[in-house]
Subunit: 239 residues, 6 copies
């Protein structure tokens, strides 16, 4: 029995509200249960220097938490003082979003996706990827509307969900109470029916190949549902 | 004529929504026009070490901005890498809030008020103080409800507003377009009809004692109105 | 009764010795009672990058303390590790000095004013501004003598003094024992009979508009006297 | 055809030389092809503070590279300035080694495993885990010999290997030329026939569930072979 | 011919003014030609933790430069951001002063000697040692007067001078123009007729054993003269 | 009697193995007794900016220690967080190597020598200089073979050895047990029969000029022997 009373294959309620920031080229507030993340996409006409002259675009991400997003207040972090966990997460978000981008079609420019966790209850990196894609989608819409980009560089949504073995059972979309108990958990990032990243990890435990398969089944179903929500949110956005 | 069309003595629309954070002991989202700040208050039973054994409480503040709170994306800051402006602001917020606290009544504990700007359009430090007081009020309510504090350490709200000389006219509550043009501006922090802090400053300009008086008149009226909104918000909060 | 036995409207003895540094383009040692600050002005023909091509000059300041300037030894600070108080002070010094400079007349160059406190006994930021203006004056003299600047960019001295409410009385020019006791104090920066910056602040206290007026009266008299000393020191300097 | 001429399921030559450091409680030099890593294990009788009184042991890891371990000289990193990649790797090494440790049997003490890459040619994090386990094994042997630990906390070796899709083919044990070309690669960490961590990642690409299965097949065979080498090396060590 | 017109074995004029700081337990301003250093000694009743319970005292030093001590303005440094040169110098000063201290007689306490260069013209580390010893002497006098220390821990002054080969000639007490030209120079620290530290160094040059002997001869004469000045200054000090 | 049983004028066994790194332009592993240092030389066609257009080359060094090179594990250091000791050592290594280089013959390029201590038992800075010269020699050989440099910029080897007064006796080549006991020790860097750097230092002790002479005698004999080993190693190297 899960603490929330959800079925093993049941995700938390997910909503994506777009246009929450007056300045950003694309923005949304994603809620996955009590987890809330503000995602903004910033267009920069200048690509990073290592791409100069390549004609290729770049998407990168930064991840942060408000000090009281968590139950116990956390210390503020900056670009130059981020802990290992934060850096790991934002490298993951950037890599995941790039996997769903046609960088030739995007052209030599950069989009920075900021994912700031307003309230955390497990699954913040997955919510950041899922919401971050919507912010990215809206920023790209603006480029296309302005005629700066002609072929759409974003075909299929990139979405992410966590799964884990909780109380001996494979379960979908771990919330914080589950996440802190589960010896084995994983983050699954999909782009349609293809996988972008799979991170399964055990702290003080191990898992079998069969268990891995069951978590993948759950993740595929979860990400399919997330993709629908992403497309719906992006369709209804004003830009 | 002000860019927003407001009268010289007209504040922007102000709203304070309480209970926006599930973890914090007190929280609100204050909106002053397009400026939005999430304020959370965190209770810590341990006071800072310099107060050990004094029986006195402490209130401190931290201030941050999401990278895309502003029109141009800003670099993230941490506790150890905050720029001069950020430190100046958060020291001001802490000092202002403490001026309205009976530290004996609070007892030897600390309340940390985090003010995170979600969207900026001028006046973020004033909104942080005004909203921060409400978060503080709610956290203290919790202490009193739990019987940990008996005499109310917060009698009169602390509120803040900016005024300045824009296009030769003294105006109340500068928004960003006004703030970036005004040669003279000031932040006025009041606690009832008493002053807590007055900061008038000119960049490449000077002002007379008479002009100073006119800005004070505007500020007194503005803060009186803000206090009503603070008390109303706190009264309606569930805790 | 003030600890020093001074009358409420009596400043400490002030002296300004010029030419104390063989390398700097302008320098002085200002003594305000036991407070001693070495001020040096460094000419840089290159203005900061944000002014490139504007034709406007810039004046900036840095503030430091020798570790044993204070009664208890303090940790050394660097440009990258300055505490909030230090940054706040040096931003104030720079802003104050700029208010008295005609940046068009100065031309596209920068003057860096370093204020290093050799011995502290209250009022170090005010002494830094008052002494800093003299160092700046001498450096500008050198520019004018060399024909690099033709119209004088410095017309009226910028000077500063602190006032506060000590033992219930408004007093001029707080020394350290007064400063550490006063619940309300302020720094007043004037340029002739115009104000440049007013910072009134209460730690755990409040003040009325009437009290504010009395402190302003004291400050106006004090700054008038400081201006005479500044002009006298600059006139007698060898450059 | 692989650049090295190896078959798709062929690992590079692996050797583990023990006792290479006169000071460490356990040490080895692992060579995987041209990749060389010095692994040392340091016993600390004091566990980290979060375990105080728990009776549980801890294993942690640090990872570094000599500046010229790579083809282009790299900047030195410290504990406080490690880049995201370094932190990600050393968190992975620590987590992986802990998965194979019975922390109750180890008792309340800490073992720090340092993995320093002397020469890099792909697969340094996997070599660090595989060699790190041997250093850990030798340090634990010393504890057991001294009677400080009675039940062996290390039953099955933890070993790691990378696999990826190179030129359309699933291949085992990527060297640097393959790693820099492969769009999809993964690190597989096993403890006997159980999995400890699976990290599959695509940079600008995606992969199917079927491809994932083929890489897992390769990894299982590779880690089985590595375990034999680890046990052999540990058996022959003098301590 | 030396730029200053001095004879090869002629030191610059040296003066030591004591009691220049109202807060420090010992202080002086040493002038060696145009080089000026403020030295303060701070008594701390607590010795560093590595000496706890040993009964031994400690003397340590910090070295700094005002930004405009040099001809070109230098960046400020802090304890945590000191460059290699600064750290090398202050380690040297501390080591040199300790060599002349009977740490048993001093007892388990610490004296921190701060050497801040107000104006630099070569030889700042030597002036810091020579002046630092006087500040230390005065602080120890205070300990003895208070009866906290009974046997004098400072018997013979520690003094320092630089020598080098300038224009092919061995010369005493290099000033900045000589120092920047000399291929070979050295710092010689003596305690009476015994040596404490000898640092001879060549940048892009070498020296013979015979040349080394000639520089030592000059240094011995120079330090003997400095010792007289140190003792005279300490004798005349009010504490 | 020395702890190792060596005669007072007896060095430890020294070996220099070249070509230990597949990437570096020159490399060796130097062993002096139990002290082991990997030295690599990296060619950079771009000289530091302060040499731009001068036609002169540059040699610089970095020094590091693996955390467990020492008996007690040490914290990792980075370029930006190096302690004073590390910076002092690497500045010394760079200065010493440059003294033996004809920078005109080298031409406007830079060689970075990294000295990483794998195992420490006293004398690591001297071993770094001696081994660093061999790595430098091999890198220069490569430049000459490629015709980029025509006149040999390295004529005489630079080598280094420590000497000290142990148990009242002058001894050659201190190992760690001696180094930690000796009140007086020195590092002597020679280039043929000329001296490059002499650093004699006493911690809590002093030394006479006569003792200094005896240490110099030992050092001259030691460095002569080291030079033979350096030349032999370089001669036998494959490049």
């Amino acid at each position: 029995m899960r603490p929330s009373g959800r079925a093993n294959d049941e995700m938390r309620e997910v909503s994506i509200e777009t246009g929450v920031n007056a300045h950003a080229e694309g923005s949304c507030l994603i809620r996955v249960g009590r987890t809330q993340v503000i995602c903004t996409a910033t267009l920069e006409e200048k690509a990073p220097s290592f791409l100069k002259g390549s004609g290729l675009g770049w998407v990168t991400a930064e991840y942060g938490m408000l000090p009281r997003a968590t139950n116990t207040r956390m210390r503020r972090e900056a670009k130059t003082s981020q802990g290992g966990r934060t850096q790991e997460i934002q490298r993951l978000i950037g890599r995941a979003l790039r996997a769903g981008v046609d960088r030739v079609a995007l052209g030599e420019r950069q989009i920075v996706v900021d994912c700031d966790v307003i309230q955390a209850d497990g699954g913040t990196r997955c919510a950041s990827i899922t919401g971050g894609w919507v912010a990215l989608r809206l920023a790209v819409n603006r480029l296309m509307k302005a005629g700066l980009v002609t072929a759409d560089p974003l075909v299929t949504p990139v979405s992410a969900v966590s799964c884990g073995i909780y109380a001996g059972q494979p379960v979908l979309d771990l919330d914080y109470p589950e996440d802190s108990e589960a010896g084995v958990d994983g983050n699954f990032i999909l782009c349609g029916d293809r996988m972008v990243e799979v991170q399964m990890s055990a702290e003080g435990a191990t898992f079998s190949r069969d268990e891995m398969g069951k978590l993948l089944d759950l993740a595929e179903a979860g990400c399919a549902r997330l993709s629908e929500i992403q497309l719906e949110a992006a369709k209804n956005a004003s830009v």
